[in-house]
Amino acid sequence: MSGMKDKKKTRKKLFSRNRVLTRFRRNKLALMGAYFILVLTLIALLADFIAYDKPIIAKFDDHLTSPIMLKYGVALGISEWPEGYHDVQWKEIEYDFAIWPLVRYMPYELDYNNVHSVGPWETQSIKSNWWRHWLGTDELGRDTLSGLIHGTRIALSVGIIAMAFAMLIGLFFGGLAGFYGDDKFKLSRARLFSNLVFFLIALFYAFVLRQYALADALANSIISFLGQLLLSILIFLMIMLAANLLALPLKKIPVLSKKITIPMDLIISRIIELFVTVPTLIFIMALVTIAKPSIFLVMVVIGLTSWTGIARFVRAELLKTRTLEYIEAAKALGFSSSRMFFHHALPNSISPVIISLAFGIAVAILIESTLSFLGIGITETVTWGSLLAAARSTTGAWWLALFPGIAIFLTVTMFNLIGDGLTDAFDPRSGR
């Protein structure tokens, strides 16, 4: 019996998801956006096979090798460069045959024969058209097209990871504010008291005591810092858990067992207000000056500043749903609050979150390229923004301004179109 019920349930779910999908598909523009992003993702994933300074497969001296794969192997630590491969001038040697990527340059590679920004249609000093800089070069002779292709990786990964990060924070805070509102978060005095005291202690053991471990890791690399930070957060959470366990016996004392209501919604709304009041770009620029700029820093900082929109949507949606009848019914049935939250309230608020994710990615990509354009964001690799910045210092090189700008514009527009399409698709009232 129950098996059949389950089947019915899943079919129903599929049906509703299908409906959203069909509505989305019917929106030509949104569909175009989705395909565009798909292609862009492929370009980002396969960037090394489209633009690289070594052949994909080559045969020379009776050896058949794949320099790109070899490079991957070395980077992953699986294999090592064969004897004598270190100083191979891949572009100079004679091949029996070679399959080259479409663009034969790396973004940071200096082509000394084509310095001082050579345009796409100007005569370039190259061996054949296979070696052409299709979109020109910059002042130092770096290939624009290759920069664009590899910049796709940065743009997409920053957009997606930053928004994933923002979504986690936004869901958490928005969920807390919306689910508990101002009146449903009740703590016994014992628990409140032990939490406050242990908060200081936890802060001490997790962060003050480990300050040098954290600072050294931050100076080293952002990844090791994240590891250390995770450890600190774990310590913090363990101590807070201890605090709550300690509160259980303390609650037996009558004076301490009195409940206190915490206005969750008010507190979190204030926090959101705090973030909204400082213009995002100004806040990010101030943050970026303090730590060493890197891709991860930019992702984390963008995530940290753009969760407020998602939090607000989730909050509003949950505040609305918690008065609805089926939540009341669930409450009457005695379901636990976590079950009500995850099974009933949250799924309802997921559609505005998905919509704001699409718009948010567009904004994140814009912010990242703005930072790179100003030269204070990602400095370790070529990005769309840094390509555009090069146009400012090079007069006459219109290609340096045009193509990266188009790339940013198209990507942002497509994400916005997807967002629009999703808004319509999720909205049952839209007749289209």
Partner: protein, 482 residues
């Protein structure tokens, strides 16, 4: 007035960001000061200047009202003048936990250093002394045993190598004995630390209370009374630098906002009136495209193509133009206007899409109301219906959107001012970031938060004025269906 606590929270955040920034502000200021070129020659004078500046910047106070620290670290550490030494001693204290012996060690090193410096100042010219001084400086910022012992060995070698070369001077010989003696002391004190070290102490938390005499209190009280500290770069007061810049930003933002409203309202009304027709979709599509165009790209392109970059030279590319006293008012206006055209375009167009869309939505909403149908039934012409019946009702909510548009303008000003070299707040902010001039950075952050807050406040007030059904006193959170 609800944003006052928010502003306080922002001041806390920005303050702690400014405290955690790398680098020693006093050093930065000394380096930027031209007189210090003279000072650098004399060690004692330089030290005195350092302490004076540190006091002037208020950095010789504890950071906050209270601090959470380990028992190992002394709560009077902030009194030590040199930042790098302070950080180093803190780390030493953290690892060994015996503050008394660490202090004694530090004083012995400082004494040793002062002996070397007085020898240098008194005119003894020996390369070894300079090397010695350098080694001691390194010693003062090293904290792990391997490094310290290595520097000890180095100093020993240098100390004894002086003996062989310069022993003809009797006077110097006596000094050298003294140096050796005090260096013995240094080593002694260090090994005392190692012997007595109690690493367990760092696991005990303590809270120190510092009272009102702390950096944050001083900073915020000064800030509220309009004194925002002094620029690290040239020592000028931040408030005098920032006021002139804020004026420019405000002027352009308000002008741009005015223009945005001027253009977007007719556009919105028009596309609402022709809803679903070609004109509507044309306007909508154009605006949507404009909305997605990154403004820094458009600005770059405009400069490259229209402002003496590569092709046409219709507009001046940078700045706001030179206003001289000999110019007539007309000339002044035309000079500024010519410089403002391109920036204003970039300022206006991103907000245009947003506002027109809202205007269109509002108009469509109103046009569906019953009283519009009544007006049409009365036989009023379409123009009258559109402009005098619906327009007014749709306009009010749009005006309240100042709350959203104004912050957009302020935020957008950063990038645009940089690109067009307009001497406003955003340009100042960027330059300060590049030169790590933190008092200005945080003054700008506070200011932009303040301006944004004002924007929201004005929006709220207008909202109440526009719609008598809403009152500010309402406390229940309003849940909109958006």
């Amino acid at each position: 007035m609800i944003f006052i606590p928010t502003l306080f929270a922002i001041s806390l955040v920005t303050f702690f960001l400014s405290v955690s920034t790398p680098g020693d502000p006093v050093e930065t200021m000394l380096a930027g000061d031209e007189e210090s070129m003279v000072l650098r020659a004399d060690n004692a004078l330089r030290q005195a200047e350092y302490i004076r500046l540190r006091h002037k910047l208020g950095l010789d106070l504890p950071v906050f009202y209270f601090s959470l620290a380990t028992l190992a670290v002394s709560d009077t550490l902030y009194r030590l003048p040199v930042q790098s030494h302070r950080k180093n001693l803190k780390k030493l204290a953290y690892y060994y936990g015996t503050w008394g012996s660490i202090e004694a060690y530090y004083h012995s090193v400082i004494y040793f250093k002062s002996q070397i410096e007085s020898l240098i100042d008194s005119g003894v010219k020996a390369d070894e002394l300079i090397m010695l001084k350098r080694a001691v400086d390194e010693l003062l910022i090293s904290n792990n045993q391997v490094d310290i012992v290595r520097f000890f060995e180095l100093i020993n070698i240098i100390l004894y190598s002086i003996e062989t070369e310069q022993n003809e001077s009797v006077l110097f010989g006596a000094h050298q004995e003294k140096l050796k003696n005090s260096f013995e002391q240094v080593q002694d004190k260090y090994f005392t630390i190692l012997r007595k070290g109690k690493s367990i102490k760092r696991f005990i938390p303590t809270i120190h209370f510092h009272g009102f005499k702390n950096q944050y209190h001083k900073w915020i009280t000064r800030f509220l009374s309009g004194n925002m500290g002094i620029s690290y770069q040239d020592g000028r007061p931040v408030s005098s630098i920032i006021w002139g810049r804020v004026k420019v930003t405000l002027l352009i933002s308000i002008l741009a906002m005015f223009l945005t409203y001027l253009i977007s309202i007719p556009l919105g009304v028009r596309s609402a009136a022709k809803k679903g027709k070609f004109q509507d979709s044309l306007i909508s599509t154009t605006l949507f495209t404009l909305y997605s165009l990154p403004n820094f790209w458009i600005a770059t392109m405009l400069i490259a193509f229209l402002a003496c970059g590569d092709y046409l030279c219709w507009f001046p590319p940078y700045g706001l133009g030179e206003i001289t006293d000999s110019m007539s008012i007309g000339q002044r206006i035309s000079e500024t206007a010519l410089h403002l055209i391109l920036p204003l375009i970039c300022w206006v167009y991103p907000a245009l899409a947003f506002l027109s869309r809202q205007m269109r939505g509002g108009m469509i909403n109103v046009l569906n109301q019953d009283y519009i149908r009544t007006a049409r039934a009365k036989g009023l012409n379409e123009r009258r219906v559109l402009w005098s019946h619906s327009f007014r009702n749709a306009l009010l909510p749009i005006i309240t959107l100042i709350a959203n548009v104004f912050p957009m303008m302020i935020a957008g000003s950063v990038v645009l001012e940089i690109i067009f070299s307009i001497p406003g707040m955003g340009k100042l902010f960027f330059d300060s970031i590049l030169s790590q001039n933190y008092p200005i950075i945080f003054a700008v952050v506070m200011f932009s938060a303040f301006l944004t807050g004002i924007g929201y406040l004005v929006g709220d007030i207008l909202y109440v004025l526009a719609d008598p059904r809403i009152s500010l006193a309402r406390t229940k959170p309003k849940i909109t269906s958006e």
